[in-house]
């Protein structure tokens, strides 16, 4: 004889029963419930009806030419990536600048693009850059190993902060972060201002000397300024910026004790 509470639990197994996902003893228990309860039989029939409705939904075709455009676009991106190796091409720049002083900051957008293109080519490094072993820095001040489809490839100690390269298998990416708020008036002409959940942001599309289209996205990220540069979609840029440690919540809090290498390396006042 089952109790009402046991029956309630069995009612919750009706979907799994219908899907053939119960073990023998559970299935037997539900069989018993169905024998003695008209309500259970009705509910099972209802579940089956709804399940059939969902399973009966027809396939949906993408708009005409959708995949063809994607394939063409991918081919183009792949070609650009190859071209980048030999010259200066689009890539992605993630720069993380750490300073305990909040200031108004205008990221050197053009210069960052050049540096990041140089790093993306994997053939050279700016003279004032120094590689950082991100895995050996307690992870507290470094950009995360992954950001969505992007994987961190390298991190550098840059004059203004930290410069990290990511790659999603299509094109390398970088991020640049500086303490302070964006000095919007000091950004190059041609960009577009926007807001993201209360944070101001700025975006500009540029073309590198090799002809690759490059997005530059600058945004406030807590008390930091994050600049993302590279060939990417807008959502990729936002995803990368979003994945960065958010200062004030974790990054700066951990900077004091765990990231002396950043402060010392960058020469910022403490």
């Amino acid at each position: 004889m089952s109790t009402p509470s046991q029956d309630r639990e069995l009612f919750e197994l009706l979907d799994a029963y219908l899907d053939g996902e119960l073990q023998d003893d559970q299935r037997a228990a539900v069989d018993g419930l169905l024998e003695r309860s008209a309500q259970a039989r009705t509910e099972l029939a209802e579940i089956e009806r709804v399940r059939s409705l969902v399973r009966g939904l027809p396939p949906v075709d993408a708009p005409f030419g959708f995949y063809e455009r994607l394939v063409r676009r991918r081919t183009k991106v792949r070609g650009l990536a190859v071209a980048t190796v030999g010259a200066v091409a689009a890539a992605i720049v993630l720069v993380l600048a750490i300073s305990p002083v909040t200031d108004r900051v205008a990221p050197p957008v053009v210069d960052l693009g050049e540096r990041h293109a140089m790093l993306a080519s994997a053939r050279a490094m700016p003279a004032d850059y120094e590689p950082i072993d991100a895995d050996a820095t307690d992870g507290s001040m470094t950009p995360p190993p992954t950001a969505g489809a992007y994987r961190r490839m390298a991190v550098y100690d840059a004059p203004e902060g930290v410069h990290a390269i990511y790659d999603n298998g299509v094109a390398p990416v970088s991020v640049f972060e500086q303490t302070g708020d964006v000095d919007w008036d000091d950004l190059p002409v041609g960009g577009e201002r926007m807001r993201m959940d209360g944070d101001e942001a700025w975006m500009m599309r540029t073309t590198t000397t090799s002809g690759a289209a490059t997005e530059v996205v600058v945004m406030n990220h807590g008390s930091m300024v994050v600049t993302v540069v590279g060939t990417m979609t807008a959502s990729d840029a936002v995803q990368l910026a979003d994945a960065m440690p958010r200062p004030g919540r974790s990054l700066l809090d951990r900077a004091g004790d765990a990231c002396e290498w950043v402060a010392e390396g960058f020469g910022f006042p403490r």
């Binding site: 919750e12 197994l13 009706l14 979907d15 799994a16 899907d19 996902e21 209802e46 579940i47 709804v50 399940r51 409705l53 969902v54 399973r55 009966g56 939904l57 027809p58 396939p59 949906v60 075709d61 993408a62 708009p63 005409f64 959708f66 995949y67 455009r69 994607l70 394939v71 676009r73 991918r74 969505g148 489809a149 999603n168 298998g169 299509v170 577009e192 926007m194 807001r195 993201m196 959940d197 944070d199 942001a201 975006m203 599309r205 289209a213 997005e215 996205v217 979609t233 807008a234 959502s235 840029a237 936002v238 995803q239 979003d242």
Partner: protein, 168 residues
């Protein structure tokens, strides 16, 4: 449409030969063509990276898992930070006005079922879609979403219960 290729398919094969399945799952999760196209683009990027480690087996199961996880990632990201479009970009595959075919598709869809799906919380919707659209078993769904099988069972039960209420 072969679901279990003997060899690792190329990116183009996935896009061309399994595009309808991929798009169907994306559309069931997002409920509109614009977001479905964005999701498919995201998925194909992940597919490209994952092809090197793809183990021949149920390609649709694999694609369904990637699609659902990309969808849930996007849902979480939007919760943290609602995103406005950065800019019109001809290079991006941004949908324009619905084509005649697209409009006809929408008109022919059992829209009330799709609408009911969209009323489910994203986690429930993902479990139901993986089960009833992709056709994964509970253990596969659990592995895909990184949750216990009991949670999968619960989400499917509650998801379908909400569907029953909406579709009553």
């Amino acid at each position: 449409m072969p679901d279990q290729p003997d060899e690792t398919p190329s990116w183009e094969q996935v896009a061309r030969e399994h595009g309808q399945f991929l798009y169907t799952v994306a559309y069931r999760l997002t409920g509109n063509h614009e977001d479905a196209q964005d999701l498919v683009q995201d998925v194909l990027l992940r597919v490209q990276r994952g092809l090197a480690t793809y183990q021949p087996g149920s390609l649709h199961g694999w694609l369904g898992r990637i699609t659902t996880n990309a969808f849930l990632d996007d849902v979480r990201r939007r919760k943290r930070r609602p995103v406005e479009p950065l800019a019109d970009d001809a290079e991006r595959v941004v949908p324009g006005a619905p084509s005649a075919d697209e409009a006809m598709d929408q008109a022919n869809l059992p829209q009330h079922v799709q609408d009911a799906l969209l009323q489910l919380p994203a986690d429930y919707r993902a479990a139901v879609v993986l089960c009833d659209v992709v056709g994964l078993e509970y253990q596969e769904i659990a592995d895909s979403l990184g949750i216990p099988v009991g949670t999968v069972r619960s989400r499917i039960h509650r998801g379908r219960a909400q569907l029953r209420e909406v579709l009553a």
